[in-house]
């Protein structure tokens, strides 16, 4: 290395990014790639959100007004796929790229070229997926869970492109996960033992193992669909000796860990943010790590709770009911720990803290409805109604998405070198909070009253709450464009951020200047 430095004497310490577009195409820098992931994710968030606006506009009143049922189904399907695979997952990978090296004192991710490839697969995958909306016969219309045979024998022709897109997303996720594991296990600064790692690093390590375990299962699932559609096999067709329920077992073996993939990194981020603004160390660090690992383990043995009404034998039904109820224990431990961290702290409520506190409260509400859904006999009434829609939006919107917003506000000063506008940030929070609750809380009521999910039209008894939901959804949706404005304003200027803008914050990322230089921790820091 010394020879290289000699040859380039004078500018080796100031090796900044390349110029122009090729900087982004060819970059192997974890900060650049993290930034691209975050922008991509936000773009997809707005696109998936606009599909949700179409759904809510159609459901604003009973009757068919805006779209036909066939197109409505494409909207629900694409909304789910884009939000899960395009918005939430890439946002967390973006945060991992930016923050994991900074948190563990590493100069970059362990596998930088792989990192570049993981990212650039995503725009290709989503361009292909979204383009199917413009094909004859329309895009995928079988729900984001794409149950066979609706997604095989009865699917539009675009299903093949959907399968290819899922494969690309899967490869991207697996490579991203390998990179995270390799980085965390190999590139920690001296003295950064596993049990000293920030919880965001821990939860991402566990998430990465979940990804490696289940994304290949999803790939297998869509490959079997491909074979059934084009090569005459009958994996999911009873007429040829296959089984449509097999599809659901395989899908949910992926699908249940997937919901934890979308929430565990948020658990980790919030576990940094709440102590920072409580000015008090995280309560029960060790139990947080074990609780995360327990949740990850349990996520593999509860998949059939999504299938309580498919006719599983009673013993199987009981097993999955008990296992699902058990998840409440480690999840409860986490919530109790966050509350205890706040207890007798010295609290302030800047925007990241507002989102983090709302995360704890609203995610817990989603956890409660999850516990209700775990009770199999009661699930016979809840299953496939708006109660389920309310439940998973309560864990995903104030869970995953608020977790991402909290992280974005918390680390924006580090990324941009400027403080964001606190007043606007708080306004963004309150509008999101009100809009989100208005949109999703009434869904509990219409679900319990008997409204099935994924319908474009409904009986008059559900009309009033649906109108409230739609208004809430429009408020929530419009507010996110406002977030774009806040971020751009913060990038372009604002009060200069010190290296550590939050007095209660801890961690190596606050030891480097703001904005973080293009290369950080070229010499590993010493952790005591």
């Amino acid at each position: 290395m010394s020879a290289v430095i000699d040859d380039h004497a004078g500018h080796e310490h100031d090796h900044g990014p390349a110029k122009g577009l090729m900087r982004w195409v060819l970059t192997t820098n974890h900060k650049d790639i993290g930034t691209m992931y975050l922008w991509f994710s936000f773009t997809m968030f707005l696109l998936g959100g606009s599909f949700a606006m179409v759904i809510r506009a159609e459901l604003f009143q009973p009757g068919l007004q805006i779209v036909e049922p066939a197109f409505f189904n494409q909207m629900t399907t694409m909304h789910g796929l884009i939000m899960v695979f395009g918005a939430v997952m890439p946002a967390f990978v973006g945060l991992a790229n930016w923050m994991i090296p900074l948190m563990i004192g590493a100069p970059d991710m362990a596998l930088p070229r792989l990192n570049n490839f993981s990212f650039w697969l995503l725009p290709a995958a989503f361009a292909m997926l979204v383009s199917t909306l413009f094909t004859a016969g329309g895009g995928p219309n079988f729900g984001w869970t794409f149950y066979a045979p609706l997604s095989t024998t009865y699917a539009p022709e675009s299903v093949t492109f959907f399968i290819f897109a899922i494969h690309m997303m899967g490869i991207s996720s697996i490579m991203g996960a390998i990179n995270v594991i390799a980085t965390i296990l190999n590139l920690r600064a001296p003295g950064m033992t596993l049990m000293k790692m920030p919880l965001f690093v821990w939860t991402w390590l566990i998430t990465a193992f979940l990804l490696i375990a289940v994304m290949p299962v999803l790939a297998g699932c869509v490959t079997m669909m491909l074979m059934d559609i084009h090569f005459g096999t009958s994996f999911f067709s009873a007429a040829g000796g296959g089984d449509p329920v097999l599809f659901q077992h395989v899908f949910w073996f992926f699908g249940h860990p997937e919901v934890y993939i979308m929430i565990l990194p948020a658990f980790g981020a919030v576990s940094s943010i709440i102590p920072a603004f409580s000015r008090k160390p995280l309560f029960g660090y060790t139990s947080m790590v074990y609780a995360t690992a327990s949740i990850a383990f349990l996520s593999f043995i509860v998949w059939a709770h999504h299938m309580f009404v498919v006719g599983i034998p009673v013993v199987g039904e009981l097993f999955f009911m008990y296992a699902t109820m058990l998840i409440a224990v480690p999840t409860g431990v986490k919530v109790f720990n966050w509350v205890s961290t706040m207890w007798e702290g010295s609290l302030t409520f800047e925007t990241p803290m507002l989102f983090a506190v709302a995360f704890v409260i609203l995610f817990t509400i989603g956890g409660f409805s999850g516990l209700m859904l775990a009770i199999a006999p009661a699930d016979f009434q809840y299953h496939d109604t708006y109660f389920v829609v309310a439940h998973f939006h309560y864990v995903l919107v104030p869970g995953a998405i608020f977790g991402i917003f909290a992280s974005a506000y918390y680390w924006l000063p580090k990324w941009t070198g400027h403080m964001y506008d606190e007043t606007l940030g708080k306004l963004h929070f309150w509008l999101s909070f009100i809009g989100m609750n208005m949109a999703f809380f009434p869904m509990h009521f219409v679900g319990l009253a008997g409204m099935p999910r994924r319908v474009p039209d409904y009986n008059l008894q559900f009309a009033d709450f649906n109108m409230v939901s739609s208004i809430g959804a429009f408020i929530f949706g419009a507010t996110q464009i406002f977030f774009l404005f806040i971020v751009i304003k913060c990038i372009r200027g604002g009060e200069p951020a010190p290296a550590k803008p939050w007095d209660g914050a801890e961690g190596l990322e606050w030891t480097v200047p703001s904005p973080a230089p293009y290369h950080t921790f070229v010499t590993p820091p010493e952790v005591k």
Binding site: G63, T153, Y154, L282, V329, V339, P377
Partner: protein, 375 residues
């Protein structure tokens, strides 16, 4: 008028809350069976447990958010672990869960006991209607959405049972243990009547069991609960529960009707009669995909107006309707409609919307095809 403002206030309140009773339903209903009541109780118990835990946890959070703010001069404590507390909040929730699992298990085992039924009904899901077959009774029929399309497209005011009304309801006897054998002819559907707490997926190639014993006569409404394609939101379920005597009368009438239908097959039909009958069949069975004017919804659902099938040889046309087109949404209607109705609808399609072929397919032609198939 202004002398009695309280009257107007009363009316105003009544208009808000009177409507509220109908439209602002917030909770599950206990339903009409022992099982649905048990399920409702489980729902309320687990709900109350969640509310109590929520009050404790959120209470503690709001307590510290109000009292432990930096602006009140609060100094942060430094504690960050306690094995006693951690053990406590692991064990206590576990005990609550065990207490909850016991009644849930009992109810679940009861729900799964479909033995010793008094009446067996095969329920088959089709895109997008339900078929009911009273096993061993020679009675079977389709149950289609009865809401007029004008209401769905906002050209007529919507009725009270908008989207929850059918042409022929499922008829059940009160007090009897009715077993449902649920299956599907195409994609997965889910048969759900909330008042019975029965929801079972209808899966092609498989038969699922469920049962109910309804305590009160009346009309009970439900919907398909599993996304099954375009008209998933338009395949309701209506169960009419009658006293045992009324049920027996109804069953006897239905048996007589199916005998009469067999007579109709051998009757000599005129073109005019077939077209008239076919018009009704088309607008019940075919209209969802091929549309009112035969224009279809290409490319998924082709037009019939001027189509090569509907204006080509009548044998091919009958064959397509009878056997369907495998791999597409076009079902084999030979299994769904009577000979008379198939003959009528084919004849109608050949003579409607300018397809003026002037020829006809008779019920006897259909019967010949059916007998040829069984040979």
């Amino acid at each position: 008028m202004m002398r009695h403002p309280h009257v107007w206030m009363g009316l105003l309140l009544w208009s808000i809350f009177g409507q509220a009773q109908a439209a602002w339903t917030m909770n599950m209903a206990p339903g009409a069976t022992e099982v649905s009541n048990a399920v409702f109780d489980l729902h309320m118990i687990i709900f109350v447990i969640c509310v109590v835990i929520g009050i404790v946890v959120f209470g503690a959070m709001f307590w510290s958010m109000i009292l432990h703010r930096r602006s009140t001069g609060q100094e942060a404590a430094r504690f960050h672990e306690s094995t006693t507390v951690e053990t406590l909040w692991t064990v206590v929730p576990l005990l609550i869960l065990i207490a909850m699992a016991i009644p849930a298990t009992k109810t679940l085992i009861n729900i799964y006991d479909a033995s010793e039924s008094d009446l067996d009904i095969q329920v088959t899901g089709y895109q997008w209607k339900w078929h009911y077959k009273y096993l061993g009774q020679d009675v079977e029929f389709f149950s289609n959405l009865a809401t007029p399309t004008e209401q769905i497209h906002n050209q007529a005011p919507k009725g009270e049972h908008y989207l929850l009304e059918v042409d022929q309801p499922l008829v059940l006897p009160v007090g009897a243990k009715v077993r449902f054998l649920v299956t599907s002819a195409d994609v997965i559907h889910s048969w759900w009547v909330p008042a019975f707490a029965v929801k079972r997926d209808a899966i092609p190639g498989f038969i699922n069991e469920a049962w109910t014993r309804i305590e009160k006569p009346g009309l009970y409404r439900g919907q398909c609960a599993e996304l099954c394609g375009k008209d998933h939101g338009f395949m309701p379920i209506v169960a009419e529960v009658k006293s045992k005597a009324d049920f027996e009368t109804w069953l006897a009438e239905r048996k007589a009707e199916s005998a009469k239908l067999k007579e109709l097959t051998s009757k000599e039909w005129t073109l005019q009669e077939l077209v008239e009958r076919g018009d009704k069949v088309y607008h019940t069975t075919c209209v969802a995909c091929h549309q009112a004017e035969g224009q279809g919804l290409p490319p998924m659902f082709p037009a019939l107006k001027g189509s090569p099938i509907a204006t080509g040889p009548k044998e091919d046309h009958l064959h397509r309707v009878y056997f369907g087109k495998p791999g597409t949404a076009m079902a084999a209607f030979g299994k769904q409609l009577s000979e008379v109705d198939i003959a009528a609808v084919v004849t109608y399609e050949r003579n409607a919307w300018g397809n003026n072929k002037g020829d006809m397919v008779t019920p006897k032609d259909v019967l010949a095809l059916k007998q040829g198939e069984s040979k």
